[in-house]
Amino acid sequence: MIVFEEVSKSFDSLEVLSGLSFHIATGQMVGMVGPSGSGKTTILKLVTGILTPDKGSVRVAEGVVGYVFQEPRLLPWRTAVDNVAAPLRARGRIKAEAREIAAHWLRRVELGGFEHYHPAELSGGMAQRVSIARAFAVEPRILLMDEPFSNVDAALKGSLMQILTSIIRERKPTVLYVTHDQAEAIRLADRVVELVPGNGLRELDVRDRA
């Protein structure tokens, strides 16, 4: 569950969000579209708590948050398995245990055998799969995704999406998924909202999707 009530957020003198309210039910997958600069990434950061609202309140269900960034954001000096294991170690798991869980999730994103590769040895699509494994390894109650496919070419996008949706269906986290691709959002999400600068959120009709 994610609840925004009258949330405002400014950077210096630029007001990015003003009095924004919305509600995402537990287990729901919401796609959020909108032009760049409309505050999509700011909303995600408010959910994680690394930003706090100037006004209003953000309430998020108890539990871990998983985050898939636009770029993979892997530690270049750590192997794939240690990259996935790092957030688990932050949650107090011992190294061996964290690695075991990490290796499981790497197999889940079809990267079995690449555990000991460094990010520089992986392709862009493979690196993004490592970051997906990292997001799920913490068993998130909430999954945030910030244009996770925007740096992946069209051919890879399909397989990446398939992996992602199958895991989401299985684990049922609450998902907030930011994209600028409305068709993609409609295809993946239960609900699609459009962030209109200055005017808040507009609900888009997704019932007539193919």
């Binding site: 985050y67 530690l75 270049p76 000096w77 790092a86 932050a90 460094h118 520089a120 990292r134």
Partner: protein, 295 residues
């Protein structure tokens, strides 16, 4: 010695590593084949480069020999005379005794100056206020000429170990500090944000993000600092010590033992070569292994 620039070493020393991957470790399948080709090519390039370096060394030796034909042997010893003097020093215990004394001062001074520069650099890289607070100290330690620090060290600590070690530490500090600060500031913000999102503890952020992130500039700084430290230790020993290579060098000069004087220069160069190519480069290559695929 006061004109240290951050990252200078990165470009100079990064060159051999920034080429094609070393072959062997790489992508699977098709990519592996083309990488093996690149590995062979880079091996040839490296051998050709090494040949030029050897040629450069030989050219300097030839020039030295030619000059010694023209110039009086009182001011310039020939390579042969220098080698003879060197053999004489190595035969007795003198070379090894002075070398150990100098090495001890160098290592202690370098370790102290580098450790302080590194620690303060990490904290100051994160805290802007501390960075501003330390800025005058950095400026002073980089600007005061080494010879003045040497004189002050003699005044405060007398002749001997302490004065030389102090001089080396003070000279090394800003080199290491500046490189570490700029390393911390250059750490990828996207990675620290990732750490925040996944609730990395302060310790985990340090060991997983910051320390590996600054390894490259820190190692470059250490290489620079070592060169600076060798020069400082000799200066300190020439002015403020009764033993060590620098003192032996100035004694040889006072007694006009020119071949011995040149022999000590060769000893210094050899010492520096062992430290740089035998210790620093291999350490650096090991720590920076993750870059092997060119990322």
């Amino acid at each position: 010695m006061g004109s240290t620039t951050p990252h200078k070493g990165t470009e100079a020393d990064g060159a051999p590593e920034s080429g094609a991957p070393e072959g062997g470790v790489g992508f699977r399948g098709v990519v592996a084949a083309s990488e093996a080709g690149a590995g062979r090519r880079s091996g040839m390039v490296r051998r050709a480069r090494a040949a030029y370096v050897v040629a450069g060394v030989l050219a300097m030796l030839v020039a030295w020999q030619l000059l010694s034909f023209v110039v009086s042997p009182a001011v310039m010893a020939s390579p042969a005379d220098t080698a003879k003097a060197l053999a004489g020093l190595a035969w007795g215990s003198k070379l090894w005794v002075e070398l150990l004394i100098t090495l001890k001062r160098l290592v202690i001074g370098l370790a102290m100056g580098a450790a302080v520069g590194w620690l303060l650099g990490i904290v100051a890289g994160v805290h802007r206020q501390l960075r501003s607070f330390l800025e005058p100290l950095r400026w002073v330690s980089m600007t005061v000429p080494a010879v003045i620090i040497a004189v002050l060290a003699m005044l405060w600590f007398g002749l001997g170990d302490l004065a030389v070690i102090f001089l080396v530490a003070v000279i090394v500090f800003p080199t290491m500090y500046v490189n570490t600060v700029s390393g911390v500031q250059a750490v990828d913000r996207r990675l620290t944000e990732m750490g925040q999102v996944y609730h990395f503890s302060r310790r985990l952020l340090l060991t997983e993000v910051y320390l590996p992130g600054i390894a490259s500039p820190v190692l470059a700084g250490l290489t620079l600092a070592t060169g600076v430290a060798v020069r400082a230790v000799v200066l300190g020993e020439v002015l403020g010590a009764m033993n060590g290579i620098g003192h032996a060098f100035s004694r040889a000069m006072a007694y006009l033992e020119t071949p011995e004087l040149f022999a000590w220069i060769v000893v210094l160069l050899a010492l520096m070569a062992v430290i740089e190519f035998g210790v620093l480069r291999p350490v650096r290559r090991r720590i920076m292994r993750w870059r092997k695929a060119g990322g």
